[in-house]
């Protein structure tokens, strides 16, 4: 495995600090390595494919290479001759299913379960195969958007590693084998069910809940236990601060000032997609709309919500209670909740000033909203509730409903206690993977193994059954494993965060002999062969008063069930026995670091660890793929490695915590709070697939091995030491860098003092080569001068002449894209959406380290400000579709050409793989198939391929096409409908009718074109990406391109990109320094 040269060098951190402090004006940097400006880094950027050189160090001799090359050429000559298509067959239907038209897509409204909550989706089906997930615009938790997990869930359906048959002790068995064992045992439980246990995750499904009720009644004494790695411990759940469990909902459109206390509401909340849309809707600054909300964030680790903050306060987790208490005190909430002011430790002057400003801003704002993270203790939630009450937010921006997910009757801990006491003899595990994700102090895995292997004579004494999509760690500890149906192949129902219920409808019959949890419950209720649809229909038929069949079809069509959203609760009483605040006065440091556990941005809690799309998705900020790492900030890197040789990405540290220890690599993440180590869950898995392991070894480290049930989210007292070893990590942070020609580095331009003396670079040249890829302004600056962004444009001041004839674009449709950087939250949904739509392969960790990842759109992170407290900007970069595209002129075979609609086209079957185009692309958006990355062979995987897009083979260049397949299909649909109307007009007798029909034709055409969305645009939660026809002045994209904040990347090269950007606006408080306070 190659060592990533970018990772492996040391960082002159003190020098970087010094240079940043001396910088002139804002400086934007993608990584610390870039800031270091070392020769090694420059060299790696200057090479177009930096890792290519190593290939030629292989033991293969030069002579052998030439021999193979000659033989390949000779063979190529033979295979290239007279290619005849293989004789194919056409197999039509026997009876064409209703509404199916071969070649046209069908959408079905269904819902994807995520940690028990449903998010509405529209799943696209082509000839019976589900191909793509889109959000359901009518569903409250989606509003039309789909996150990376939803997009990637389609790959899970076709995962070749899924369980295919019922298994007994790892051997193939049948459903009737299982029933032969299960049914007699259930018979004995009818009179006394004690010993019979169910273990489930969080459940909101109305049908499943009623089935469980029936189960508990049918087998008296049986118990249902619940465990969800995201919802522990039960007693401290935020919903329990009230006398009855209540969920708190938020309306971000109703808030001018927003404060989040540890809540990453943009990504980890069941309503994240909705909240992200609402939050960004309050921030879209346009020339005629000069208003935006203001976001204050208090957090420890770096989250996407924190990256969107106008002011961010990075504090250790143990300080949250203190800061919340202070804030409450300043807003006049005292008495029993906040201890006397003198007993609350005081804060540093800057932090006190920060809180003072926030408190004043909250009080003076017309509307506001305060939200606390689900991982915060009840004391913080109670205080946040009081502050919201004080600020009159309840009922305006903050709502309460009866908790959607009923509280668990019994916990995992109860179950393990009972198992230890011998009170359990039959255990059914409905999904999930508790043997892997249970807290380390609850020995569930070993108890489960005991239970499964205890024998009475020759027979097993107990019965353990696991239902799961994969034979995971839990399955291996059970006697029986039943394949679980994917949500796209089973009937079910589920509630969203606000209670809205949806029917889950299948698009395809189960690929394997699998059962859904609803079907398994029916088996336990003595209906072993009942189809899932019957259970769901029976359940809802009881509550529907109108004609059921009509209701059923309407509900399936809409994707939500009318009248199921939970009613608002007005009677809010806090529990009197809530624990008070407790304050820590210790300052964290490596000997006593604070530890954070969070779901991983790509593997989540472990359930997506076998999804290759997600594994190869660069995680926000760190841009790490295929692994997880411990995030530490720059100061801790210095503390651990010494200021002369601070730790770099991949250095392995040992974490000792509560008598347990773990070794894992670190990534350096500027902006994290001091003395904090941030761990992500979901890695270190051992069973359940070929993607989640690397040659048999688990990928990443398993943070569950340190996670306790008492402190599942944050704790103090972790000891961190450097082991002296390093491991290669696949980090894409420095890949595909723009604007960094050696000596012409924008970083260096900003760090003028030592570079201005460089020979051959005049100040004028420096200015010319500082391309200002990221452009930002505050709302105030923009209000004062709308040209503030355009004034940064050097191309307008120094126009270069183009050698090429300009294209003529005065006809037809002209495509363009606008990306709003104020709206982009860096969530990665677009990357996976693009991957699903365009058959983009994964390449694996080793290839990512060689900079060969294939994503057509990447999200660059730019930091600005000091390394200890930077601000972050997200910039999605797809192909720019330049009007003067540098790639086109250098292609020797005309494989990349220009279309008259302004597309930069790629014709794969012409490409011979010279890679000149990629070399000449200033934006580095072209991707080359160095090997045969596409999967042509897996019998299930290839079912997912989009039939409208070529699956690329080895040796072919590819890149963003603006989803040309969608463009073509939409254009054809538009022409069809418009021409039909025009023909009607031609044949109409009355001139008035003719005129009306012609107008209708034009309008229809415009509507259809306006409805065209690229895959990235469609999935974007915040509508940051807008695509459309530039020639229609009314189109959304044309309007955005007229904005004064519109600018193009590297336009001084006269590339005339069709993709342009709207600058990032922030809305800092005049009394506070912008960015992070650490």
């Amino acid at each position: 495995m190659p060592q990533d040269r970018l990772v492996n060098n040391t960082l002159p951190l003190s020098e970087i600090r010094h240079r940043l402090a001396a910088a002139d004006g804002p400086t934007y940097w993608r990584s610390l390595q870039e800031l270091s400006c070392t020769d090694e880094f420059r060299q790696s950027i200057a090479d177009e494919f930096p890792a290519l050189g190593e290939r030629f160090n292989d033991s293969t001799s030069r002579r052998e290479v030439l021999k193979i090359m000659a033989a390949s050429l000779a063979l190529l000559g033979i295979t290239g001759c007279f290619y005849k298509h293989p004789q194919e067959k056409i197999v039509p239907y026997v009876k064409t299913p209703d509404q199916t038209i071969p070649g046209l897509p069908l959408y079905f409204a269904t819902a994807m379960p995520m940690n028990g909550y449903g998010i509405g989706v529209l799943a696209l089906s082509r000839e019976g195969r589900p191909l793509k997930i889109e959000g359901n615009p009518d569903h409250p938790a989606s509003l039309g958007a789909a996150n990376a997990f939803m997009q990637a869930s389609i790959l899970d359906l076709y995962d070749p590693d899924r369980s295919r048959t019922v298994q007994r002790s790892g051997r193939t068995a049948t459903w009737s084998n299982l029933l032969g064992i299960l049914n007699p045992r259930l018979q004995t439980k009818l009179t006394n069910g004690s010993g019979l246990r169910l273990l489930t995750g969080t459940i909101t499904s109305p049908t499943l809940l009623s089935q469980i009720q029936q189960f508990l009644q049918r087998y008296p004494g049986s118990q249902c236990h619940q465990y969800d790695p995201l919802h522990t411990p039960d007693g401290e759940l935020p919903k329990n601060i009230f006398t009855t469990p209540l969920d708190t909902l938020h309306d971000f459109t109703k808030a001018d000032v927003i404060l989040t206390i540890g809540s990453d509401f943009l990504t980890t909340h069941p309503a994240s997609l909705r909240y992200a849309r609402q939050f960004i809707d309050g921030r879209r600054v346009r020339q005629d709309h000069l208003k935006m909300n203001r976001l204050y964030v208090i957090e420890s680790a770096m989250t996407l919500t924190g990256s969107m903050a106008d002011h961010r306060l990075a504090i250790a987790p143990s300080d949250f209670q203190l800061h919340t208490a202070r804030l409450g005190h300043m807003l006049g909430i005292g008495g029993d909740v906040v201890p006397e002011s003198r007993s609350v430790p005081s804060l540093s002057v800057q932090k006190q000033h920060w809180l003072d400003t926030v408190a004043a801003d909250l009080t003076s704002a017309a509307t506001s909203l305060i939200i606390a993270g689900a991982d915060q203790p009840p004391s913080v939630h109670a205080m946040v509730h009081r502050i919201n009450q004080r600020l009159n937010n309840i009922g305006r921006s903050v709502y309460h409903i009866d908790s959607v997910a009923p509280s668990a009757q019994h916990s995992l801990k109860d179950l393990v206690t009972d198992m230890q006491d011998g009170n359990v003899d039959t255990l059914l595990i409905l999904g999930g993977n508790p043997a892997y994700d249970a807290p380390i102090d609850i020995p569930f895995a070993s108890m489960l193994q005991n239970l499964s292997t205890q024998r009475r004579g020759r027979d097993y004494q107990n019965l353990t059954i696991h239902l799961g999509t994969h034979a995971n760690e839990t399955a291996w500890n059970c006697q029986w494993h039943i394949p679980q149906s994917h949500y796209l192949e089973s009937w079910g129902d589920i509630r969203a965060h606000d209670g809205t219920a949806s029917i889950i409808q299948p698009l395809i019959a189960p690929l394997f002999a699998s059962k859904s949890e609803w079907e398994l419950m029916e088996t336990l209720l003595d209906h072993p062969d009942r189809d899932g649809i019957e259970s769901i229909r029976n359940h809802w038929a009881k509550s529907v008063t109108s004609d059921f069949e009509t209701w059923w079809l309407q509900t399936l069509q809409r994707g939500t069930i009318d009248g199921t959203s939970a009613p608002l609760r007005k009677d809010l009483t806090l529990r009197p026995d809530l624990p008070g605040f407790s304050f820590s006065d210790e300052t964290p440091h490596p000997e006593n670091a604070e530890i954070i556990f969070a779901p991983d941005p790509t593997a989540w809690t472990g359930e997506y660890a076998n999804n290759a799309w997600l594994q190869e998705l660069p995680k926000p900020f760190t841009k790490l793929t295929w692994d997880n790492a411990i995030a530490i900030n720059v100061r801790m890197a210095e503390n651990l490695g010494g200021s002369a040789r601070p730790l770099v990405d991949g250095h392995i540290v040992r974490v000792d915590y509560q008598g347990r220890s773990l070794e894992a690599p670190v990534v350096i993440l500027p902006g994290q709070a001091d003395g904090v180590i941030a761990m992500t869950l979901g890695y270190g898995r051992t069973h359940g697939g070929t993607v989640l392991t690397d040659d048999g070894a688990p990928r990443g480290y398993n943070a569950y091995q340190l996670r306790t049930s008492a402190r599942p989210w944050v704790d103090v007292g972790a000891r961190v030491t450097f082991t002296g070893r390093i491991v290669p990590l696949a980090i894409t942070r420095n890949h595909h860098a723009m604007d960094t020609a050696p000596g012409m580095n924008s970083i260096e331009q900003s760090l003028k003092p030592q570079n201005i003396a460089q020979p051959g670079i005049s100040e004028e040249n420096l200015e010319l080569h500082n391309r200002k890829i990221v452009r930002t302004a505050t709302l105030e600056q923009f209000q004062q001068n709308q040209n503030v962004i355009q004034n940064l444009d050097i191309a307008s001041r120094k126009p270069l002449l183009s050698l090429y004839q300009p294209w003529n674009y005065d006809h037809g449709l002209q495509w363009g894209m606008s990306i709003d950087q104020t709206a982009c939250i860096g969530c990665n949904a677009c990357i996976v959406a693009c991957q699903a739509e365009n058959n983009i392969p994964v390449v694996g960790k080793e290839q990512v380290m060689r900079q060969r990842e294939m994503h057509w759109i990447r999200i660059d992170n730019y930091f600005s400000g000091p390394v200890d407290s930077p601000s972050v900007y997200h910039q999605p970069v797809p192909c720019m579709h330049c009007e003067n595209a540098p790639c086109e002129y250098v292609c020797p075979v005309g494989a990349t050409t220009h279309s008259d609609e302004g597309l930069n086209e790629m014709t794969y079957n012409r490409c011979i793989g010279t890679r000149y185009c990629s070399n000449n692309c200033p934006y580095k958006v072209r991707r080359f198939n160095f090997f045969l990355y596409s999967d042509y062979d897996s019998n299930t995987r290839r079912l997912q391929h989009n039939p409208d897009v070529s699956v690329r083979s080895r040796g072919v260049m590819e890149k963003c096409t603006y989803c040309v397949q969608r463009i073509d299909n939409t254009r054809i649909e538009m022409e069809k409908q418009v021409l039909d109307l025009r023909e009607q007009a031609r044949l109409a007798l009355e001139p008035a009718d003719q005129k009306r029909l012609l107008l209708a034709a034009d309008e229809r055409g415009r509507q259809i074109i306006a409805g065209l969305q690229t895959a990235c645009q469609q999935s974007c939660p915040t509508q940051a990406i807008v695509f459309g026809d530039l020639r229609d002045p009314q189109s959304q994209v044309a309007r955005l391109k007229r904005e004064p904040a519109d600018y193009g990347l590297l336009t001084d090269l006269t590339t005339k990109p069709r993709t342009t950007y709207l600058a990032r606006f922030t809305n800092p408080h005049p009394d506070l320094a912008p960015g992070t306070l650490a």
């Binding site: 046209l104 037809g812 409208d948």
Partner: protein
């Protein structure tokens, strides 16, 4: 010093140059002709089908419209192959005992689809759309030939890119009135060029250079 080469060598060498050029040219010409020939393109080749379906009988003899069986041709990229059910609308009533229709009855009874031999097969990197062509006034027989004279279906044209471009470069040579699109025995009128250019305007055809954009067919 004696001459190393025979005096004739110069002549042979000069002639050799011409022979070599002719030879290479000839090889290229032969290769190009083979590439265009029915041997490669399969044009004019009959295929044995599970049921010897005759378009001549059904179209010319019975006058069944193209769209009765190929019913998605105006809507979708795919023209659509008739399901067994479509065949059975008639054949459950007529020719119910015909031996050649045994596979059809088998399919209907067992629910197993009929596997027809594909006659028109474009490479996978070509995205042809039937509906788009119908919308713009390209008749069925322009590409598929006189189907009503084909007792067994065969591919009438070469279906190579050169052939596609003859129309994409100069569509006026082939366009028809809308009502004539499905005429199986349609003959181009003498004033085709005039009619074609009128129709091109009326059907709002993309400008010729756009009709040759790569991404129109390759993606």
């Amino acid at each position: 010093m004696a001459y190393v080469f025979h005096p004739l060598t110069n002549t042979i060498a000069k002639a050799g140059v011409f022979v070599a050029v002719l030879l290479i040219g000839g090889v290229v010409w032969v290769a190009a002709e083979i590439e265009r020939s029915p041997w490669v393109s399969d044009a004019g080749v009959h295929r044995n089908q599970p049921i010897p379906f005759s378009h001549e009988h059904h179209v010319r003899g019975l006058g069944i419209d193209c769209r009765y069986c190929h019913n998605s041709v105006t809507e979708s990229a795919s023209a659509g192959m008739p399901s067994t059910q479509v065949c059975m609308t008639c054949h459950s009533k007529i020719w119910t005992n015909a031996a050649v229709l045994e596979p059809l009855r088998q399919s209907w009874e067992t629910g197993t689809p009929i596997a027809w031999q594909r006659v028109h097969n474009l490479p996978d990197y070509v995205y042809f759309n039937h509906a788009a062509h119908i919308t713009k006034g390209v008749g069925c027989t322009t590409c598929h030939g006189q189907v009503d004279r084909m007792p067994l279906m065969l591919q009438a044209a070469a279906l190579n890119m050169e052939w596609c471009l003859t129309c994409h470069r100069e569509p006026a040579r082939f366009l028809r009135e809308r009502e004539d699109i499905f005429q199986p025995d349609y003959q181009l009128p003498p004033n085709q060029m005039e009619l074609g250019s009128q129709l091109a305007k009326r059907y709002d055809l993309l400008p010729p250079q756009l009709m040759q954009n790569c991404s129109l067919c390759h993606r």
